[in-house]
C-alpha cells in the first residue's frame, strides 16, 4: 500500500525558479524498509529535479519490477509514471521517447531488473543512446523475494545465510561504456553530496545517461560478509572525478586550482566541473574510464563519481532523423497522405 503524505509544509520552505518547493517533487510515503538506500536515491532525485526547476509534469518516470521499480511511487508525484514488466522498462522508455521527445525520461531499475532479466533490453537501450537518465539502485540482492543473490553481487562475497557467491559479478558501468553510453557515473546512496550533482548533470545530458547507485539493502544484504553493506561500501568507495554541476544560468566560479579541474559543457549550456581525484583521468576518454574501473576493482575498491561523459555524441532521435515536433501531437492532416496519393499506389499494383 502507498500512503498519502501530509500536504502540510512550512510556509517559508525554499522555492525554486518555478515557485515550487521541494515538497512538490515528492511522491507517496515510501513502503520500502526503513533505511533502504532506494529511498535516499529517490530523495536525491527529488532534490536534483527541484534544484534544476524541472516542471514535474514534463518528467516521465518508468520502471520495471522489484524494490527499485516500486520506488518511483515515492518520488515525483506530479509526474506521469509507468511501472512496466520485469526487465522491460528500456523498451517502453524507447517507445515513449519515440512518441514524445520533449519530455525528460527517468528510468528507475535494480540489479535484477537490469543485470539479469533485463540484460538484453539494457544492452540495446544503451546502444541506441536513448535520451534518458537510467538509474540502477544496485544492492546486489533480490529484496521482494527475500534475499536471493543478484548478478551484480561480488564473486566470493557471502549471502546473509552464509552461502558463498560463486558467479562472476556484472559491472554495469563497464557494460554501459562498452555499449556506447554517453554519460556513465557511479555513486552511493549514502553520499548525497556526490549523487545530487551527478543526477543533475545526467538529467541535463542529452543522450543515454547511466548512473549505477550502490544502494544497500538493510534487510537482506547489510551483513558483515556482504560487499554491498553500508559499512563495506563506505570503507571501499574511492571517489574518482568529483563533479560539480553548474546550471547554465549561474556564474561560473571555481573552487579548484588551475589544472585540477575540467569543465564539460552540456547541450543546455550547463557545465559539469570536474575535480580530479588522486587517480584522476580524463573522463572524456572511454578507454581510460574502463581501465580505471577495472584497476580499482582489482584493488577491492569501488570507483565512484563521473566515470565518463561525452556530450558531443548523437542520441537516438538524431540517428532516426525524427521531426522535432513530438509525434504524439501530429494529426491526420500531417499523418494521412489522403486519397489522391493512393491513385499512384494503386497503379503500381496493376
Amino acid at each position: 500500500m502507498s500512503y498519502l503524505k501530509s500536504k502540510f509544509h512550512h510556509p517559508k520552505l525554499a522555492k525554486n525558479d518555478l515557485g515550487l518547493t521541494y515538497r512538490d517533487y515528492e511522491g507517496a510515503l515510501s513502503t520500502l524498509c526503513a533505511g533502504c538506500g532506494h529511498d535516499a536515491v529517490g530523495a536525491a532525485l527529488v532534490q536534483a529535479c527541484f534544484e534544476l526547476s524541472l516542471e514535474p509534469h514534463k518528467v516521465a518516470k518508468l520502471s520495471g519490477i522489484g524494490c527499485s521499480s516500486k520506488a518511483p511511487t515515492y518520488f515525483l508525484g506530479k509526474s506521469h509514471g509507468f511501472n512496466t514488466v520485469h526487465g522491460r522498462m528500456p523498451s517502453v522508455a524507447t517507445g515513449a521517447s519515440m512518441a514524445n521527445r520533449s519530455l525528460k525520461y527517468v528510468g528507475m531499475s535494480g540489479d535484477g531488473d537490469t543485470a539479469s532479466i533485463g540484460m538484453g533490453q539494457f544492452a540495446h537501450v544503451v546502444r541506441r543512446r536513448l535520451d534518458m537518465t537510467y538509474i540502477v539502485a544496485n544492492n546486489g540482492v533480490y529484496g521482494l523475494t527475500k534475499g536471493q543473490t543478484a548478478a551484480t553481487a561480488d564473486k566470493g562475497s557471502h549471502t546473509k545465510k552464509g552461502e558463498e557467491i560463486l558467479w562472476s559479478a556484472i559491472d554495469l558501468p563497464t557494460m554501459a561504456l562498452q555499449l556506447g553510453a554517453t554519460f556513465v557515473a557511479r555513486s552511493f546512496s549514502g553520499d548525497k553530496d556526490q549523487l545530487v550533482p551527478l543526477l543533475k548533470a545526467a538529467l541535463c545530458h542529452e543522450g543515454f545517461a547511466f548512473i549505477d547507485v550502490l544502494s544497500p539493502c538493510v534487510t537482506f544484504n547489510n551483513h558483515a560478509t556482504s560487499t554491498r553493506s553500508y559499512d563495506y561500501v563506505r570503507e571501499h568507495v574511492e571517489a574518482g572525478n568529483i563533479a560539480d554541476f553548474v546550471p547554465s544560468r549561474e556564474e561560473i566560479t571555481t573552487k579548484y586550482a588551475e589544472g585540477e579541474s575540467k569543465d564539460i559543457c552540456l547541450h543546455d549550456g550547463s557545465l559539469i566541473r570536474l575535480h580530479k581525484g588522486k587517480d584522476g583521468y580524463d573522463p572524456t576518454d572511454r578507454f581510460a574510464a574502463i581501465n580505471a574501473i577495472e584497476q580499482h576493482r582489482v584493488k577491492g575498491e569501488i570507483l565512484t563519481g563521473l566515470l565518463y561523459c561525452d556530450p558531443t555524441l548523437r542520441d537516438m532521435h538524431d540517428f532516426l532523423g525524427t521531426t522535432e515536433t513530438p509525434l504524439n501531437t501530429l494529426d491526420e492532416k500531417t499523418l494521412c497522405p489522403g486519397n489522391h496519393a493512393l491513385a499512384g499506389i494503386n497503379n503500381s499494383f496493376r
Binding site: 509526474s79 523498451s91 515513449a96 512518441a99
Partner: protein
Amino acid sequence: MKTINSVNEFVIRFANTNGTGSASANNMFAKAIFRMGVPVSPRNVFPSNIQGMPTWYDVRVSEKGYLGRRAGGADIVVAMNSQSMMDDVQSVEAGGYFLYDSTKEIDPQLMRKDITFLGMPISAICLREYNDPRQRQLFKNVIYVGALAALLDMDFEVLKGLIADQFKGKEKLISPNVHALELGYQYAKTNFNCPLSIRVQKSDKVGNRILIDGNTAAGLGAVYGGATVAGWYPITPSTSVVENYEKYCNRLRIDPASGKKNFAVMQAEDELAAIGIAIGGGWNGARSFTATSGPGVSLMTEFLGLAYFAEIPVVLIDVQRAGPSTGMPTRTQQSDILACAYASHGDTKQVLIFPSTPTECFHMTADAFDYAERIQTPIMVMTDLDLGMNDHMSDELSWDDSRTYDRGKVLNAQQLEEVEEFGRYLDVDGDGICYRTYPGTHPEKGIYFTRGTSRNEYAAYTERGEDYVRNMERLNKKFRTAAEILPQPEMHRQNKGSKIGVVYFGTTNAAMDETFDLLRAQGQNVDGMRLKAFPFAKAVEDFIEQHDQVFVIEQNRDAQMRTLLMNELDIDPAKLVKVCNYDGLPITADFISATILDHIAVAPASKVARG
C-alpha cells in the same frame, strides 16, 4: 490421350530453385494474365532457406473468379529444378502439359503417357546467347515466360509493357529482357503446336482491382491510420509489414520544411522489446504498432497482459504461420487464435480482427488504430502467410478524406481544468471505457501512475479484493462494449433460409464462392457467415442460433475458432462441426465442400439438432 481443354480456367505451376531470380519472372507472368483482364491468384510455396532449395509458384487463372487454392495438381508445370523433377512430373493433372529444360535428356523413367511433355533446350539457348554466367541463369526465367506467351496465346505486348514498367529508370535492361522473351516465344512458335488446348483469352473480369499482397496493404494501412511509432523484430512471414510501412513513410511522411521524419521505426533486439516499444508509444499518445508471427506472439504475451490490464492502446499485426514452435515458418495457418484471444496469464481477453483480403488488410489496419484508442486495449489484426506474402486480386485502395482519427477518450489540459474529478479508471460513461491523459498534459491534473498491479479507480495501488473485482468486472464490461464497436460479421444467406450454416474467416474467404457453388451443385444451399472480429457481435450468436448445424471452417488442427465460439457464447459443442485444414497450404473449396457433404451424409442436420 485426352487433353485438358480450357480457356481462362486452369492452374500453372512453376517449379524453381530459390535464389535463381525466378520470382520476378513468375510474377511477371501472373501480372500479364491480370493485365489481360482475367482473374488470377498466384501463390508462392517456398522453403525457409535463402538459396538452392525447391520453390514453387502456383498461378490459378479463373475467369469465374475462384481465387482460392485449387485442390489437386496443376494443368501445366514449368519444371526448372532437376531436384524436384520427379515430384513435379507427378503433380501434372492427366491431360496436362509439362514444359521442361531439355538441354539434358530427361530420365525416361519419369515419362508419363497421360501428359504432354514439352522439351525446350533453355540452358542451351542461354549458353548460346549470353556470355555472363549470371545472365545465363536469370534469362532462363524470362525465356520460359516468352514460351508460355506463345503456348497460351498471351498478349505479347502486355509482357513487353510489364518489362518496360519493371525496368523504369534502368532502360538499358529493357531490350535484353524483351529479347529473352522473344527467344522463348519464337522457339515455342517454331517447335510446338501453339496455342495449347489450355489458353488465355482477354477478358474484362478484373475491373478496377489491384494485385497486391496483404503485408504491403497492412503497412500502407498503418501509414493511413496515422501510426507514428513502430517497434518490430524480423520474422517470416510478417517482416514486410513494417518494411513497407517504412518504405511508404519515407515517401509520404517526410516533413517538407525540415526534411525530418514524421514517424519513428525501431528494429528491436527481440519481440519482447518490439511490443514494449509499441506499448511505450501507445501510453505516450502516439499511434503505435508492431507486426509479428506466432513465435513472436508467444514472446509478446507477457506485455500483452500488461497492455490489457493497464489499458494501453496498441496494434499488433499477427501474420500467422504454421506452428507450434518453429513449425513450418513458410507455410500458412490460422493457428494463433486462442493464443491471441487469451494472450497472457490471469483473466485476459484480447480483441482480434480478421481481414480476408489485402484491401481489408489496408482498411482494418487503419481502423485498428481507431479501435485501439477507442477501447484502450491491444488490437490484433489476424492475417496469415497466404494473405500477407502472396499477391491477391483485391479492390483498389481508397480513403475517405473527410475521415478523422478517433483518438478515444483523452482529456487535454483545458478539459482537465473543467472536470471536477479525474480518475484514470473511473467509469464515467458506464461503458467500461475510462478517460485517460497523455504524460505532460497538465502541471497539476490528470497525472497518474500506470501499472500492471491492481489499482483503484484513481490508479492507486490496492490489494483489496473488492477493488480488484470491481476493476475486473469493468474490464469485462469494456469488452462487451468492444463487440459493438468492432466490425460486424458478413452474412451470405440463401433465399429460403437454410438450416445449415457455415462460419469462416480470414483467407478461407477466398475459397468460399467456389465452396458455395460446389455445395449448391450437390443440392445443399447453406448460409454463410464471415467472422470479422472477436469479441463476437450479437449477430454471430443469432446466426448460430438460427441454424440447426453450423460448420466452422478454419486452418488449424484443433478447431480453435470453434473452441472460442463454444467458450464465449456457451454453444452446445454438438452443434458446431469442425472443418479443419492444417497442412500448411491454403484451404481449398474441394476440401471444405467434401468435408461438409460427408458429414451431412453421415449425420443429417435434423438429427444432430435433436441430439
